[in-house]
């Protein structure tokens, strides 16, 4: 392995993974504060105010508390699976970010010579993403479908009735909504003609319009299913506190609990990022084909991306503050009898239109 391929395949990805991991942890920590603050604002309260100015240090205090808390394993629990479950949930939630494009392929690293060794390092261009897989979209679906297992196993291994009920609900809900989620994406796939997330954003640039304007039904379906997949309100039945105490993570405490928590918030960021990438033009500025708005291009792509993701995270919090939880039979009915037919109809209509208007762009 020579130096250039070492830099391309090992060094640069490692640096990016490090930056991404650090940023992500920070964003998740402050997302919890944002959630409490926004919901407090909507309910005419102040939210956390004690730790730091306006509660700004609250996430750090929470983190320290979770680390120091006693880690309790129920005596009748299955120890191995109980330990494994939060890890199985957390790892997929983080490795999904490997394919999400935060910005275009536009980081130029000039060539240089390492002094002393007299080794020439070639000039290279890299992007604001860890890797660009030609099957990136399927990779996201595959990895996030593994994450469900952790939730089910955690509920089962606790050997307690509320976690088991929560886990069963979660399994049924996620399997049901995954189907509609897959169908809602297919419209975008047919228009873009590729599975690579970077190329899907580029296709939106070439089409001159974000896909949300061409696929409004697909986007609404995707976001509904995405909220259901992440077990957030109003689809938070697996952890419905009024009936199931806390659902699958009832028996978890301390650090293990925080792993589930991290995974849930990482999954929220993943769904928001996917919504932005597939439907809202990824890193593209608004109206990417109108030259008069060129000054918007002064804002770098990854900031546009972050801004759009924040909007969707805000939607998540808004939903939680606004809507009551669905009943279980209503949830299943919506998934199979409403969302699925609409999703299939959307696929058929898109297919006909794409064929009629002249193939994939």
């Amino acid at each position: 392995m020579n130096l250039d391929s070492f830099i391309d395949w090992i060094l640069l990805p490692l640096i990016k993974i490090g930056i991404l991991f650090g940023l992500l942890s920070l964003v998740i920590a402050y997302l919890t504060l944002l959630e409490r603050k926004i919901i407090a604002f909507m309910q005419v309260r102040l939210g956390p105010m004690r730790v730091g100015p306006h509660g700004l240090l609250q996430p750090i205090a929470d983190g320290i508390k979770l680390m120091l808390k006693e880690d309790i394993v129920p005596s009748r629990a299955d120890k191995i699976v109980f330990t494994l479950a939060p890890v199985i949930t957390l790892i997929p939630a983080f490795i999904v970010f490997a394919v999400i494009p935060f910005g275009p392929r536009s980081i130029h690293i000039p060539g240089f010579t390492i002094p002393g060794l007299n080794v020439q390092v070639a000039e290279r261009t890299t992007g604001f993403f860890i890797t660009d897989l030609n099957i990136g979209l399927l990779y996201v679906l595959a990895v996030s479908s593994i994450g469900i297992l952790g939730i089910i196993l955690g509920g089962w291994a606790s050997n307690s009735k509320y976690p088991l009920l929560g886990a069963l609900r979660s399994a049924a809900q996620m399997v049901s909504y995954e189907v509609a989620l897959g169908f809602s994406i297919m419209g975008v796939l047919m228009m873009a003609g590729t599975l690579s997330l970077v190329e899907i954003v580029n296709a939106q640039k070439n089409a001159g319009a974000w896909y949300v304007f061409l696929q409004p039904v697909g986007f609404i379906l995707f976001f509904i299913c995405g909220v259901a997949e992440t077990n957030r309100a109003p689809f938070d039945l697996p952890e419905a506190e009024s009936e199931l105490v806390a659902g699958f993570h009832t028996e978890y405490s301390g650090f293990r609990f925080s792993l589930f928590f991290l995974a849930e918030y990482a999954a929220m960021i993943v769904v928001s990022s996917m919504a932005v990438t597939l439907f809202w033009g990824g890193w593209l500025r608004p109206f990417p084909n109108i030259a008069a708005l060129g000054f918007l291009g002064l804002v770098p792509g990854f900031l546009w991306f972050a801004l759009k993701v924040l909007v969707f995270l805000y939607f998540y919090l808004w939903f939680r503050a606004s809507w009551p939880r669905y009943r279980y039979d209503q949830l299943m009915k919506i998934g199979w009898q409403v969302l699925m037919p609409i999703a299939i109809a959307n696929v058929i209509v898109t297919a006909v239109l794409v064929l009629w208007l002249g193939g994939s762009r």
């Binding site: 392995m1 699976v81 897989l133 030609n134 099957i135 399927l138 990779y139 679906l141 595959a142 990895v143 479908s145 593994i146 469900i148 297992l149 089910i152 196993l153 509920g155 089962w156 088991l164 886990a167 069963l168 399994a171 049924a172 996620m174 399997v175 995954e178 599975l195």
Partner: protein, 163 residues
């Protein structure tokens, strides 16, 4: 590099496969099966069949195994105690069939050994797979989809006695 990864995934797959058989508890067997499927996906990626690898994870590890685990949890099966005794006669059937399968695999490997150029030609992209599914393998594809439809209807009939 690729050889090292191959041996890593292969060892994981074989270890998990043995663990599926050895484990007393059904849930542990199911978990080992998931490890086996994921390491098989790793092997697929090394063979440039990315699409197959990802579909393998989505369908088997993500959907079918979730349902397996779901059912195991619902039934709450006890640990395998006397099950082995009742199935004792199966070994008279199982051992010859296993040997036959081993022979088939060895024969295939023996014949395939010389053909080293397979890996580079293997069409692993979604486009190539879709093309061959809808041209060369259209009949098997349609027959399979019919079979799946029948199975689906059968499941509905079983689940709802009166429609």
């Amino acid at each position: 590099m690729i050889e090292a990864l191959f041996f890593l995934f292969a060892a994981m797959a074989v270890g998990a496969a043995i663990n599926v058989l050895v484990q007393k508890h059904v849930l542990y067997s199911a978990l080992s099966l998931i490890v086996l499927l994921v390491s098989m996906s790793g092997l697929f990626i090394l063979l440039n069949a990315d699409f197959l690898a990802v579909i393998n994870v989505i369908v088997y590890a993500g959907a079918i195994m979730v349902l397996f685990v779901f059912v195991i949890m619902l039934l709450n099966l006890p640990e395998d105690e006397d099950g082995a005794d009742r199935m004792r006669w199966l070994k008279f059937l199982g051992i010859p069939m296993g040997l036959f399968l081993l022979f088939m695999i060895l024969a295939t490997l023996w014949n395939a050994g010389a053909d080293a150029g397979v890996q580079a030609q293997m069409p692993g992209s979604p486009e190539a797979i879709g093309r061959s599914l809808f041209t060369d393998y259209l009949l098997p594809f349609e027959v399979t989809s019919l079979l799946i439809l029948i199975a689906l209807m059968g499941a509905v009939v079983f689940a709802k006695k009166e429609l």
